[in-house]
């Protein structure tokens, strides 16, 4: 309480900074009060972390175990040695390398195109004046409410009639249109200072130049968020590629997992889990390295409404 007195006497000149100065102090006292409850808090925290994290650890451990180590009661917790037999065997059953390549290619191309489409569309919606702009915007936003499930049967027949079954474009093209990205980019563009773009225009910059030299450099956080969310959704996408592709050499990793499940079934957990590690590990690494931006993108809906 005594700490408040000097700040109140100096209120006139420090008025804007007082809340900031007080902010770190208040939680600290509350913190000290709570310290009595800490053991319970830590117990709960450790328990939650272990329960939520155990399945992933268990997956990696199991993928390294021999069948003898997997099928014992009571359970053997750790593999005796680190051996990659399960991975080799998974690569024998399904073309794991090819699937990985397919997944990487489709993810990179798909996410890149999605970002480009969203970026350009949002640029037009914010910085260009053209007839029926509101209608176009409404059309884009309304798609956020259309569940992809209802489009699947007609899209499947269209893709089939184009001869696109078992092709990369068949997997890619129907999902390219970007409503979420356009929306996020638009929200961000509306906050950009107009004066910079007007100055660029006076200097004779065309739209293309304004987009790439001015708007894009000022939008890196949004760009990263949209790109990362697109990467994650492309990589994990299952139902559509599963329907469109049945030839192993065109499959993505999650679809290949189905193939492995059907051939090796539940008889060989080690092999199946090795492939599961291959599917999940790349995204897990992306998540761990770029966590902040990815989480910002995935939770963006909550902030924007």
């Amino acid at each position: 309480m005594s700490a408040v007195a000097p700040t109140t006497t100096r209120r006139p000149e420090t008025a804007p900074s007082t809340p900031a100065a007080l902010a770190p102090r208040a939680p600290r006292t509350a913190d000290a009060r709570r310290r009595g409850l800490q053991p319970g808090g830590y117990l709960a925290l450790v328990l939650a972390t272990v329960v939520l994290g155990a399945p992933l650890v268990w997956m990696v451990l199991a993928s390294l175990k021999t069948p003898a180590e997997l099928y014992t009661v009571p359970l053997q917790w750790l593999p005796g040695t680190v051996n990659l037999d399960n991975y080799a065997q998974a690569a024998d059953s399904i073309p794991l390398g090819r699937l990985l390549l397919n997944s990487v290619g489709i993810t990179v191309v798909g996410a890149g195109l999605k970002v480009a489409l969203g970026l350009t569309c949002a640029y037009a919606l914010v910085f260009l004046d053209f007839p029926f702009k509101k209608v176009v915007f409404g059309l884009v936003i309304a798609t956020l409410m259309i569940p992809p499930q209802i489009t699947i049967i007609p899209n499947y027949t269209l893709v089939a009639s184009l001869g696109w079954l078992n092709t990369y474009q068949g997997i890619l093209v129907p999902g390219l249109a970007s409503a979420f990205g356009t929306f996020l980019f638009r929200q961000h563009f509306l906050t950009l200072p107009r004066s910079i773009l007007e100055a660029a225009e006076l200097d004779g910059a065309g739209h293309w130049r304004k987009l790439w030299r001015f708007v894009v450099p000022m939008s890196t956080p949004t760009l990263a968020a949209v790109a990362l969310v697109s990467v994650v959704t492309e990589w994990n996408d299952y139902l559509w590629p599963f329907l469109v592709v049945d030839r192993p050499d065109k499959m993505t990793l999650p679809v290949g997992l189905t193939l492995l499940q059907n051939t090796d079934g539940m008889t060989n957990w080690g092999v199946l889990l090795a492939a599961t590690v291959v599917v999940t590990l790349p995204i897990l690494v992306v998540f761990l390295v770029l966590q902040r931006r990815l989480v910002a993108g995935l939770t963006a809906g909550a902030v924007t409404g």
Partner: protein
């Protein structure tokens, strides 16, 4: 051609011309119509540029007389028309591809799906018989529909309710100043970014009744493992657990953001008044979190109703259809049984349900917007 005359009609002269006159029409009028009429249509388009020039004031000589201004406006009008045409071209170039893709792969299939739902048509078959609302009638009277709707309701309520309650609990825990909470947050959120199908496979192994981790843990507390794969209702319980594990981190993180926006002085004031932390939570924190709760409720509801990957990986809707949700039945009817017309009807039903949820959200948000 009618648009050419609209600028001349007295009624519309005050209205902004952007909506009615296309760039080409504006160009035509500049040749034949009096300048006074034309300048009225143009000033609004040229206004920002004029204001800009006035603000800068250094470029060129500022227009002095009204005649000068007239000439300038005329020049600008031609410039404006060209600019508008160029804008339109750029708009087509920049927004066109995305809009075209949306029309072809979202709106076209949406409409076609409504049409397909009135046909008796098998996937890939050249013959289709129009049956009107026959597919809907069949769905409403089919003996399996009751079971599917019940399963969907149970799955949705369990996943949404469970995720909300557990997610809030986790968020409250992560909101405390504990060392290592960053790690816990990362671990909690990680499953959300993983492939649903892979997660399903991984948990199938966790639930293995003989060699799984779950039966081992149950054994510690002296409970025999149920037959997770085969004995009802355990398969449904299983997919609910997995769905919760995958989505808990998302709910917790959104709640965490909400919790951190609750003003500290409100909580401090409550503490000074002698309120217990449970009371503070109930009377101060939870009411302030209402918008967050509502957002999560709707988001999770929509996601849960559309979940597919986990069910496909773990139970394929079985055993005996006990885990077949509405979404899964659409897949099964169309791509397993090949009844694309009937499946489209079921998809339309699901679509209407989702639309209703979204509609409720929009009304609520509109009413609540100043509250949040």
């Amino acid at each position: 051609m009618t648009t050419v005359f609209t600028p001349g009609s007295p009624g519309s002269s005050g209205a902004p011309p952007r909506a009615s006159s296309s760039p080409a029409a504006a160009d035509d009028t500049s040749a034949g119509s009096p300048a006074a009429d034309h300048s009225a249509t143009v000033t609004s388009a040229a206004e920002p540029a004029a204001r800009q020039a006035g603000a800068d004031a250094t470029t060129g000589g500022p227009p002095s007389g009204p005649a000068d201004r007239e000439v300038q406006a005329l020049r600008r009008s031609r410039l404006g028309a060209r600019r508008r045409r160029r804008n339109l071209l750029w708009a087509l170039l920049l927004a066109g591809p995305n809009v075209l893709l949306l029309l072809v792969f979202v709106y076209r299939p949406l409409l076609q799906s409504f049409y397909l739902s009135t046909l008796q048509w098998n996937l890939g078959s050249p013959v289709a018989r129009p049956v009107g609302l026959g597919n809907y009638v069949e769905w409403f009277t089919a003996p399996t529909t009751g079971r599917i709707v019940t399963t969907t309701l149970v799955f949705t309520l369990a996943t949404v309710g469970g995720a909300m309650v557990l997610g809030l609990g986790l968020a409250l825990l992560l909101n405390r100043r504990l060392r290592g909470r960053g790690v816990a947050r990362t671990v909690a959120f990680a499953p959300y970014v993983l492939s649903g199908f892979a997660v399903g496979i991984l948990w199938l192994f966790m639930f293995d009744p003989r060699y799984g981790l779950v039966q081992e843990l149950l054994g510690w507390i002296g409970v025999a493992s149920p037959q997770w794969y085969t004995q009802r209702p355990w398969p449904l319980v299983m997919i609910v657990v997995v769905y919760l594990w995958k989505n808990l981190g998302y709910v917790a993180l959104i709640y965490l953001a909400g919790l951190q926006s609750v003003p500290q002085d409100l909580k401090d004031a409550a503490a000074l008044d002698g309120a217990s932390s449970a009371r503070t939570l109930r009377s101060i924190v939870l009411p302030l979190l209402t918008p967050t709760t509502f957002f999560l409720l709707v988001t999770m509801l929509l996601a849960s109703l559309q979940s597919f990957d986990i069910i496909k990986a773990m139970t394929q809707g079985g055993p005996l259809g006990s885990t077949t949700t509405l979404m899964y039945s659409i897949y099964e009817e169309s791509f397993v049984n090949g009844r694309a017309g009937y499946a489209s009807a079921v998809a339309t039903v699901l679509f209407l349900v989702l639309l209703a949820v979204t509609g409720v959200q929009m009304r609520f948000v509109q009413r609540k917007v100043h509250y949040a």
